[in-house]
Amino acid sequence: MKKSLVILVLLVFAVAIGFADPVPVSKDRNIYFYGKIGVGEILFGAEALTSSTSAVLLLSDEMNPNGTDTYPSDTAPGVKIGKWTFDGVNQEAASYTITYTFGNLELDGENPLGFQLKEDVVGASWLDSSDTTTYSAPSGNPEESRDIYARLTVAGREAAEGSPAGLYTVNIGINLSTN
């Protein structure tokens, strides 16, 4: 009798549980969605504006570092001789150093004429060989272009006045590198 009663109670419990409302379960699980944009290309180029058919007149007022009545007090602007361009794609912000390397203007390897360069940016200074400038590229797709001007040095001007006529040339190296 007792055994039957226990079994009956257990059966009642089992049926009750089976028909009871389910207890809500709440659990958080996480997954990460990863995305990535890789650094894109950098295009750095330089081009000259002068050639043997469009050379700069070296004894012009613009090229005279001593200043003239046209450009008093050593403000001769120089002459534009080229430019460099920077074109980046998907870049992080970065700081770059631009280094200029050059010798003297020469006529067939002789009669050296010293000169200086300057970038066409606010506050720029005249540069000697191995001098550097900087460019702070923002993130994203930065673009920058800078015209380059040339002017004789005082010694170069004096030398030019006593140098023979002809075409004078020099190779200017422009290096862009991260700091």
Binding site: Y34, K36, V39, V170
Partner: protein, 176 residues
């Protein structure tokens, strides 16, 4: 045992190289030219500006003057005929450019070669003759010129009004 699987989804556009240094060099050729034929140039010396006419000792009538400029003559491939050039000076006294003051202060120019102490006075209207040989080569002449007050100019300066004074000096090159 429950199996838990984790989904990992990677989306890449390009392979990255974060942190790698960048360096690239370019070259441009700069070409300039010096003209042949005849080149005559007059310019102020570097750093020359206004001089105090009362306190600058070198301006005194018996002193060496203050260097103010130079002229340069270069002749490439000179003409076979007439290789003689005449350089002439023309200038007036120092005056007030605004014409508010009537005072004028006389001065004179002193010309010399850069590597010489030999000085020649050049009054307005004076000329210099430069003889160039007809040899087919580059011929180069350069002269520095200084300014100093004359006796009359020094006296005039002592009683002149306080203002800025100037004189326009014209140096002309002619062939003979």
């Amino acid at each position: 045992m429950k199996k838990i699987s984790t989904l990992l989804l990677l989306l890449c556009i390009t392979v990255t190289l974060f942190g790698s240094p960048y360096s690239k060099s370019e070259n441009i050729i700069f070409t300039g030219y010096i003209e042949g034929d005849i080149y005559f140039y007059v310019e102020r010396l570097p750093g020359v500006s206004s001089f105090n006419l009362l306190t600058t000792e070198a301006l005194l009538p018996d002193k060496s003057g203050v260097d103010i400029g130079k002229w340069t003559l270069r002749v490439d491939n000179p003409p076979i005929t007439s290789p003689t050039f005449i350089v002439s000076y023309s200038y007036g006294p120092l005056v007030d450019p605004t014409e508010s003051v009537a005072d004028s202060i006389e001065f004179t120019l002193l010309e010399r070669k850069a590597d010489s102490d030999r000085v020649a006075q050049r009054k307005s209207g004076d000329t210099v003759t430069i003889n160039i040989s007809s040899e087919d080569t580059l011929h180069y002449e350069e002269r520095l010129f200084a300014a100093r007050l004359t006796e009359e100019g020094y006296k005039a300066a002592q009683r002149a009004a306080a203002t800025d004074y100037e004189s326009n000096i014209t140096i002309t090159l002619n062939t003979n």
